[in-house]
């Protein structure tokens, strides 16, 4: 069983640490959804956002480049280089663009989990 509950957040197992390139991202399948998971290894941090870039609705953010802007972690979409904050998902290059949904991430041993608010335990058996 690869689910564990804390309050209303359901943690599901995404992948192992070694599956994610250092300072890069991968796309995680969760039910019919796609989540971009980033390992910001220079900062020792993990982030997860929706994989869909709201600008042209492309499933691409996991292939984007991560970095910082004034110290704030961000990802730039490979299509048109729109940047989004990894902290809160807001668009940093265009005030009128929609924000990204972000997800909490936790790492136990070498296993990476993404937290889904209100997720149900029937859903996400991905081990």
């Amino acid at each position: 069983m690869s689910l564990s509950n804390t309050a209303t957040i359901t943690w599901f197992f995404a992948c192992k640490v070694e599956d994610v390139p250092a300072n890069g991202g991968v796309c995680v399948k969760y039910r019919d959804d796609q989540i971009a998971l980033f390992h910001f290894s220079r900062r020792g941090e993990w982030y997860a956002t929706q994989n869909l870039c709201p600008h042209r609705r492309q499933m691409a953010l996991s292939r984007g480049m991560i970095g910082t802007q004034g110290g704030e972690p961000k990802v730039a979409c490979p299509f048109h280089k729109k940047s989004f904050s990894l902290d809160d998902g807001r668009c940093l290059s265009d005030d009128t663009e929609c924000s990204l949904t972000t997800y909490p991430v936790k790492v136990e041993e070498d296993r990476v989990y993404i937290g889904i608010t209100g997720g149900s335990e029937h859903a996400a058996v991905m081990a």
């Binding site: 390139p21 250092a22 991968v26 220079r42 499933m59 984007g64």
Partner: protein
């Protein structure tokens, strides 16, 4: 409401409209323009550019819609035929009658055709309008030998046009004993003649043409000394004749030798009628240059909007490039020897001649002539105009200070505030400095704000210097840095990484940067590393520093699928290879299209399929085409001498050799090349970053061209090279570009920004002026030797292959959101929202 009718729509007329619209209170003016030519005013100064690729549209000063937007009524192809001064009306050819409060005559000039028997024969042309040029162009395929009567400014331009049209055998005939008799002296003419003859022009001075030979069609020229010259096409460019016929008809005062007489206010003998430009005769003189025409437009526009301005003559200093040779004269180049001292510098080896005339006391500069190198023109002109006191050794202004002393001359900052920097638009030094202080801190911003450097562009370097100097005087120093994570320019960082021998983005960031990097500096540093060491770009943790396309070694397309381009060197491909591409495309359901670079692009590949596709392509002998990288793309070729009846050399073999030499070479931006087997240039080499064209004696190497949003022709770097020398020059050129360009700067933009331009580049590459040629060549050789096909490395490496999946937790599944639509028996990406 004041109604102004303008007769003529040339450069001066356009400038008048522009200036008066800017000065007038909106709604107080009504402007009506009649033009004889079928198109709105165009840039006659750069007319010969029409033959080096510019279109009539490119030469337009403003489109017809501009006039409409300004509320100006524009009648084109409709010359005014009659002026009724009593009624204050004009009548046009098409029957339009307009009343006026003021009339501005900007009728310009026509080409002066001397009364030589036979000027009406077929094949004889003048050189004035785009229509003239079109006729010359259409006629030129019939001609092998060309001649131009007139060795002045326009005559030499016309001769260049004939050369551009491919007439190798072109002659210039000048009546005076020297070329450009109004601008330069005998020694200057001799040197200019030598340079032009090197470029293929044959110059005959002191020759009087007495007849044009042939029945209906010209076959040659007859001269006063009884000699003759065969010619199939002739352009007469022996001077201009002011268009004053309309003025004569309505009784305005005109000069004996033509021209509408005007006073200081540019009023004709009728105070309601003004004349400006080449048709106006002021103080016994016709001003046949654009700058004084613009000044006249300024004076009349000012007066008609209530300002007091006067025209008091105009400096006829001029600088131009004739067939690639700089020629300039300024101030008074012909002061008699007893009233001045002259300093002359002549270098017949390099083809440079400079002469300055200074006052007998050595205090001031009077004028001079520059041939072969006119870089100092603006400084010298301003020094003369503003009576700047010369340094103790006046020759310093020509030669620069020598012997380690402080710099002679004054530099741009030494000029007085009122010095005119842009003489076309009459913009002073103060105006430019003030614009900078108001926040216009780049050359482009200053151009936009003041219009300086927007006409002939000759003063652009001075304007740029003023911008830098003004910012510096405010204690500002604008450093050209990569981004917030690196306080270095790309060039500085390149050298640092090379010296420190750093191999990964993280190492570079630790040594020279701060923070975590971003999408600007990561690919820039990754590109530097690739250009320095040419290691596998996905190794050493550099994978996530690569731009998305480099990270997946393919081009991301709409919908998130990728396109695949195998290398097809020189565009040569076997039927067997075509079949492999066809099989792969069918198997993986890919849309296929021929690219602009003679390759085949396969679109719509899922990221999961990329290693499988490449496995099959590599097995059939294909390699990565680097279509995804800021790297050498393709070396296009025409079929060349192996099949073509015109081909001089085997362009395909040479293109393949070059493509295989530089394949995989990463650079600040993509690099394209082409090789043409003859001057017909079917491979379009002159639109490439470096292009090669076969000549009788070898290869001509052109550099820094590009297509894209701002097309620019490549310029000749060196001619008639053997194959080995040509490759050595390309090595040096590419390596110098790679080491010094800013990120994402194509070679054309790089050259435009390079101080000293093509002359400087030629010095570095051909003459090895920096003493780095051997180093550049050996650095290139290291990259060539280190080349490996990066797709082959991925295909053979399970760890790298693993990255080519869509879902990390479901590696077999493809992205289910990808969808295609049907189009012409293939597929296309679903339209995005």
């Amino acid at each position: 409401m004041t109604k102004i009718v303008i007769i003529g729509n040339g450069m001066t007329s356009y400038k008048f409209c522009e200036k008066i619209i800017a000065k007038a209170v909106p709604g107080t003016l009504q402007l009506v323009v009649f033009g004889e030519e079928p198109r709105p005013a165009y840039d006659r100064v750069h007319l010969s550019a029409f033959f080096s690729g510019k279109t009539a549209r490119d030469l337009e000063l403003a489109p017809a819609s501009w006039y409409a937007e300004q509320g100006i009524t524009l009648h084109l192809g409709d010359p005014v035929q009659h002026i009724d001064r009593a009624q204050k009306t004009v009548h046009s050819h098409k029957g339009i009658t307009e009343t006026y409060d003021y009339l501005v005559m900007a009728t310009g000039a026509s080409a002066f055709v001397p009364p030589i028997p036979g000027v009406d024969k077929k094949g004889v042309f003048i050189y004035r309008t785009i229509e003239d040029l079109e006729m010359i162009r259409d006629y030129s395929p019939h001609a092998a030998t060309g001649a131009v009567i007139g060795g002045g400014l326009l005559g030499l331009e016309a001769a260049k046009a004939l050369l551009d049209l491919g007439l190798r055998d072109t002659h210039v005939i000048e009546f005076a004993p020297r070329l450009m008799p109004r601008q330069i002296d005998d020694s200057g003419s001799a040197l200019l003649k030598a340079r032009l003859e090197k470029l293929g022009l044959q110059v005959h001075t002191g020759m009087q043409t007495t007849a044009i030979l042939g029945n209906d069609t010209i076959t040659g020229l007859q001269f006063a000394d009884n000699s003759s010259l065969p010619a199939d096409i002739l352009i007469i460019s022996a001077g201009i004749a002011p268009r004053d016929e309309l003025a004569r008809l309505c009784g305005l005062e005109t000069g004996h030798r033509g021209g509408i007489v005007v006073n200081e206010q540019l009023q004709t003998s009728d105070p309601y009628i003004y004349a400006i430009g080449e048709c106006a005769l002021y103080n016994g003189m016709i001003y046949g240059l654009v700058a004084p025409g613009y000044e006249m437009a300024e004076v009349v526009a000012s007066r008609l909007t209530g300002e007091q301005k006067a025209f008091t003559g105009f400096d006829m200093s001029t600088r131009l490039k004739l067939i690639g040779v700089d020629v300039a004269s300024f101030g008074d180049p012909f002061t008699p020897a007893d009233q001045c001292r002259s300093i002359v510098f002549e270098d017949t080896l390099k083809g440079v001649y400079k002469r300055i005339n200074i006052t007998p006391d050595g205090q001031h500069l009077l004028g001079g002539i520059l041939i072969g190198d006119a870089n100092d023109y603006n400084m010298l002109l301003q020094t003369a105009k503003n009576k700047v006191v010369l340094p103790p050794n006046p020759e310093d202004v020509l030669l620069g200070a020598r012997g380690g002393q402080a710099e002679g001359g004054a530099g741009v900052l030494g000029l007085p505030d009122e010095a005119i920097i842009c003489s076309c638009e009459n913009i002073s030094k103060t105006a430019i400095c003030n614009a900078v202080k108001d926040g216009h801190e780049t050359l482009d911003a200053v151009k936009k704000c003041t219009k300086a450097a927007t006409c002939c562009g000759g003063c652009a370097p001075m304007v740029k210097d003023l911008v830098t100097a003004t910012l510096r005087s405010q204690g500002r120093y604008i450093r050209n840095v990569l981004c917030e994570h690196f306080d270095y320019s790309r060039q500085e960082l390149f050298d640092l990484i090379r010296i420190k021998k750093l191999y990964s983005f993280d190492e570079v960031l630790e040594h020279y940067g701060h923070g975590e990097g971003c999408e600007v500096c990561k690919p820039a540093v990754a590109s530097i590393l690739a250009s320095l060491w040419n290691e596998m770009i996905l190794a050493k943790g550099n994978d996530t520093a690569q731009d998305s396309n480099d990270r997946f070694l393919a081009n991301i397309q709409k919908g998130g699928t990728y396109s695949v381009v195998p290398r097809v060197p020189g565009g040569e491909i076997t039927p067997r290879q075509l079949m492999v591409i066809a099989q792969v495309a069918e198997k993986y359901n890919l849309y296929t299209k021929i690219t602009g670079g003679q390759r085949i692009d396969m679109f719509g590949a899922h990221v999961n399929d990329l290693p499988l596709i490449w496995e099959e392509l590599i097995a059939a002998g294909f390699e990565s085409g680097h279509a995804y990288g800021k790297a050498l793309r393709t070396v296009k070729s025409c079929v060349g001498s192996t099949w073509c009846r015109f081909g001089l050399h085997d362009s395909v073999s040479y293109a393949i050799r070059i493509e295989q030499r530089y394949r995989g070479l990463r650079a600040p931006h993509k690099i394209k090349s082409a090789v043409s087997g003859c001057i017909r240039e079917c491979a379009e080499a002159q639109s490439k970053d470096f292009g090669i064209i076969a000549t009788e004696k070898g290869w001509n190497l052109y550099v820094c061209g590009n297509g894209g949003s701002k097309p620019q022709h490549a310029v000749l770097l060196a001619g008639d090279l053997d194959s080995e020398t040509c490759i050595r020059y390309i090595d040096r050129f590419l390596m110098f570009y790679i080491k010094t360009a800013d990120p994402l700067t194509r070679t054309a933009t790089w050259l435009n920004k390079l101080d000293g331009g093509i002359e400087y580049l030629r010095n570095v590459v051909v003459n090895d002026s920096l003493g780095i040629a051997a180093q550049l060549e050996s650095e290139m050789q290291v990259l060539v030797d280190n080349y490996k096909c990066e797709w082959k490395e991925v295909v053979d490496n399970p760890a790298l292959r693993k990255r080519f999946t869509h879902f990390v937790n479901a590696p077999e599944e493809k992205d289910p959101t990808v969808s295609f639509e049907h189009l012409r028996e293939q597929k296309k990406a679903a339209e995005w929202k």
